[in-house]
Every structure is written in C-alpha cells, then in structure tokens.
C-alpha cells in the first residue's frame, strides 16, 4: 500500500502523525499533571512516580545514542554524575542558582560527551563498549580522590527555603514530581521529533551500516557526536535534578557503574530504539526496584540489581527487542486471529 503523494493530514517534522495519537498523548500528560492532587499523604507513591519519570528521561537519553545510533555505552553514569557535580559546585563555590547550574550541567556533560566521543567513536562494537566502561571507571576513581569535589565523601547541598527559585522543596515534594514530569514530556517530544528528522534517519542508518551511510555522503562521526551531545546533555540535567532532589551527591551514588547499568537496561528492557521503550522500561523496572527497596530495606539494597541482571540475560537471549517487540508480535498475532 503506497500512501498518497500529497499529505493532507497533520504532519510533525515532515512525517504524517495521527490526530488520535496527539490527543492520546496530551490526554495522558494531562492526567499525569492532575495525579498529585490525589497523592496527598502518600509519599511512597509520589516518590515512585517521580523516579519513574526521572529514569524514563535517563533511558530516553541513553536510547538516543544506544538505541538509535547503535553506539552502546555502559559508562553513561559519568554524564549523570558530571551534571550533578557541575550544578552543585557552581552553587557551592560561586553561588550560581541551580536552574542556571542545570543549564551549565547540560553544557558540561554535552561537552564531555563530545570530547570523549571524538576519539572513542573511531572504535566499533565491543572496543567502543569497553572504552565507555574504562572512561567512566577512570572518572569515578578520579572523583573519589579529588578533594575539590569532596572526594569519596561527596558534596552536601546546603538547605535553602523551599521554593521554585531555589529548586528545593522540603515538606511538600510535589514540585519535584512536576519538574520530572515536565522533563519527560519535553524530552519525549524531542525524541519523537528527532526520530522523524534528518538526524534520526542518519542515526538509524549508522546503526544499520556505518560504511553505507558514509558512502552516501554523511559524516558518521559528526552525527554520532550530535547524538552523544544530546544524550549526555540530557543526562547532565538529570544529574542536577537528582542533586536538588536528594541534596547529597557522592561518587558511589551518582557516578557508579550501577547507574550506567540501569540507564542502559531501561530502554533495552522496554524496547531499544523506540520512543515508548524507555517509558515502559522505567515503569516496570523502577516499580520493581522501589518495592524491593521497601521489602528488603537495608541489606537487600541490591535485590533490584539481582532481578535486573536476570532480566537482561533473559531478554538478551529470548526477546532482544524488549517489551515493545513483544507487544507488536502479540498485536500481529491478534490481528491474524481476527482475520
């Protein structure tokens, strides 16, 4: 079936988009903005939703590089950590407002991504994966020793009065929910746009066959760097959000390998290279992780990682397309059954 050559319908970034999907998207978002009205006195649920949004954003950002461009990084914690440190140090040492600090974090993380990408993007497959791993580990080790950034003890943010201007909310945490949700909405719209734009086409081409993309006249390095800048920059802001939310950053919580694992796992589990994948992945995995934290508190902090590890293995071996591919194959089967 070939579509009509002139599109009379709605388009977004040059491609047609269904009105129904737009309505569903914004209706969903609208409901999510109303939910906090019903979460009064339910701090666990409020926190759960807030971290689901945060990690969905982090998953989206990993997915830009890993899912669309096919450059698998297992060192993405470094960009999250750099973002957290940037705004915190800017605040502690120079009194920079955390909102401005968040923008600085985006810039610093994106720049770091580009600087790391320039040499590392010459590497392919496992060479690249290991490079991201050793760079992230080096940054972790250096930050654990560097007294300017608080070394192994980390940095504590001074308590300021609650308020939007301070990016700190103490008794009522609902504003964090709104900020995280807004981040998710903005980033998701951005990824939908990117996927349909020239950049998205070229990135998917690089994932499929880098040499063929080059033979057509695109510079793969240039596009990989663009993807890296987006990916790292978004994570940088997530780092700032985390710092303002928890008010304490230490190398083991913001730079550690487990963050890199989760950030990669969320889109892989949900569906690598899809817009909905990171959101589905975050909903399922963060729910598991937050509940396991409640039930195995203290010693069992790692039950979530135990489940995650098992899930990564099972999905890699039995369902490499993630939940999204399960859904689409179920749909296909359902349609066949209907006919």
């Amino acid at each position: 079936m070939s579509a009509p050559s002139v599109n009379k319908g709605l388009t977004f970034a040059g491609s047609p988009i269904k009105l129904r999907n737009i309505v569903l998207f914004f209706a969903g978002v609208g409901i999510l903005y109303l939910i906090p009205q019903f979460l009064d006195g339910k701090p666990f649920e409020l926190r759960l939703l807030t971290v689901i949004f945060l990690y969905a954003v982090m998953g989206q950002s990993w997915n830009i590089l890993g899912g669309y461009a096919g450059q698998i990084s297992i060192g993405h914690a470094m960009f999250f950590g750099l973002g957290a440190y940037t705004s915190t140090i800017a605040f502690l040492n120079f009194g920079v407002n955390p909102w401005i600090g968040g923008l600085l974090a985006v810039a610093v993380s994106a720049l770091a991504g580009v600087l790391i990408g320039i040499p590392c993007f010459r590497l392919r497959s496992h060479y690249f994966v290991i490079a991201t791993l050793v760079v992230a580990e080096s940054i972790f080790l250096i930050f654990s020793e560097w007294s300017f950034v608080g070394a192994a003890i980390g940095l504590e943010l001074p308590i300021r009065p609650s308020g939007w201007e301070n990016f700190q909310f103490h008794r009522n945490k609902i504003p964090y929910y709104y900020i995280a949700l807004t981040m998710l909405v903005v980033v998701t719209i951005f990824v939908i746009w990117m996927e349909r734009s020239k950049i998205g086409f070229v990135l998917k081409g690089i994932r499929d066959d880098e040499d063929a993309v080059r033979s057509l006249g695109f510079s793969p390095l240039r596009y990989k760097l663009i993807a890296m800048a987006f990916s790292a920059g978004i994570l940088g802001f997530c780092g700032t959000f985390y710092a303002q939310y928890v008010l304490l950053i230490e190398p083991p919580t913001v730079l550690f390998a487990s963050i890199s694992v989760i950030v990669a796992l969320i889109p892989i589990f949900g569906g690598i290279g899809t817009v909905a994948g990171p959101i589905i992945g975050s909903v399922i995995l963060l729910t598991i992780s937050e509940y396991s934290r409640v039930h195995f508190s203290g010693s069992g902090r790692n039950v979530d990682l135990l489940i995650y590890g098992a899930l990564i293995m099972v999905f890699a071996a039995y369902c490499p397309g993630g939940v999204m591919s399960m859904i689409s194959s179920l749909r296909a089967r359902f349609r066949k059954g209907a006919v």
Binding site: M1, S2, A3, S5, N7, T11, A13, G14, S15, R196, S197, K198, F201, V202, K204, G205, R207, D208, D209, D211, A212, V213, R214, S215, L216, G217, F218, S219, P220, G273
Partner: protein, 242 residues
Amino acid sequence: MNPILRVENVSVRFGGLQALGDVSFAVANNEILGVVGPNGAGKSTLFGVICGDVHPDAGSTLLAGKSITGKSSDEIARSGLVRTFQTPRPFTTMTFLENVTLAALTKTNDVAIARERARLVLDQVGLSDCCDRPSSGASTGQRKRLDIARALGTEPSVLLLDEPLGGVDPGSIADMLALLKRIRDRGVTLVVIEHNLEALTGIADRLIAMTLGKKIADGAPKDVMSDDRLVRAYLGDDDAAA
C-alpha cells in the same frame, strides 16, 4: 573533451602485493565506462581509491577538474561521486522508501521533500511497489536496484556501480541494462565493473581492461574485447599480461 573524472598514475600496495600499478584513465562527461578484468585484477581497489576508501601510495584522482585525492569518502560523495557495493548493503531496519529517503537527505534537511524525491527515484528504478516494505526481505535483484536507487537519491554526477548485474536473474538483465541507460540519459556519468562482458559491451561507450593491477587496454568495447591481452588474462596466462 573535458573529462569529469580523471585517474592519474595511481599505485596501491598492500604489503608486498601491488594491487594497482600506475593506472591512468579519464571518463568523459555522461559516458558509460565499463571496467573489466579477471578476479584480483584490482577493479575493486580502483573503485576504493576513487571513492576515498583506499588511500593510494602514489597518483591522484580528479573530479570535474578538482583533486579528490586523499579526501574522505563522505566528502567525495558530497561532491557528487557515489558508489554502490558489490554485495548490496541496504539499511535492514528500514523500508525501501526510508532507505532512499535517507540518501535524499544529503540534499535537503526537509524529510517531506526527501521522501517525495525518494518516491520518484524508486519509481525510476522500478521499485515503486516496494516503498513500504522492509528492505530486509528484498530479493537480490531488488537489493541491487535499491542500492542504485539509494545512490541516485544523492543526485550524483558520477555513479560507480560494482557488478550491478551480479546475482540478477537472467530474465531481468535487459531491464537492468535499460535502467542504466535511462540513468545515463538523465545526465549521470557511469563507471561500471561487470563480469557479464556481453551485457556490458551492449551499453558501454568505452571499456578499460585490467589485470594484475595494471590497465592493459582502453578503447571502444569491440576493440577491447578482441584484444588478445584481455583474452589471455581471462585464460590465466599471467606472463603475457605483464
């Protein structure tokens, strides 16, 4: 005659092997030039040098009078010289249309415009029925056409085709040859590596013959085909060629 592509005294060594030795030739604007020779003659290495995938040890290449020697392959492609691969390499997670749309995005930032252009190109190569099919399921003949369509999507002035008839079923060869002629009639210069000599002589304006990294004949297809050096090269009498 002002040649659009010139190859001057190009030599390439891989370790101890002389892959190309002092090869020179020119391609006239809007010509179909066939490159023939037995396996290992250096035809693919020659393509590699022209496209910037292989850096020559000596010699130079010029496109429309400007040197492209030592430039990166994407830069050369942007200046209008694009290749296809011996084994077609479609972007397997994309549909036919998306494959060509990506190529057309070299000339525009607007995806809608690129998509319209891709439809036209797919129509030209006879794949308009396949637009929305995934390219992973394509037959060899379809892949060959898709590869050509993708290259055409970049609006090249020179197209290097590496065995466009390889793996194409005999019944479709005439179609493919007609397609190549149509592409030339639209103003594109074609350089074609092909083992099907009979088919190639039918459309080429000129042939160059190679063996063991050297050019041994250059001229009208009939003359080159009857050149006994080429005949001996194919029969494997290496001494005669040297």
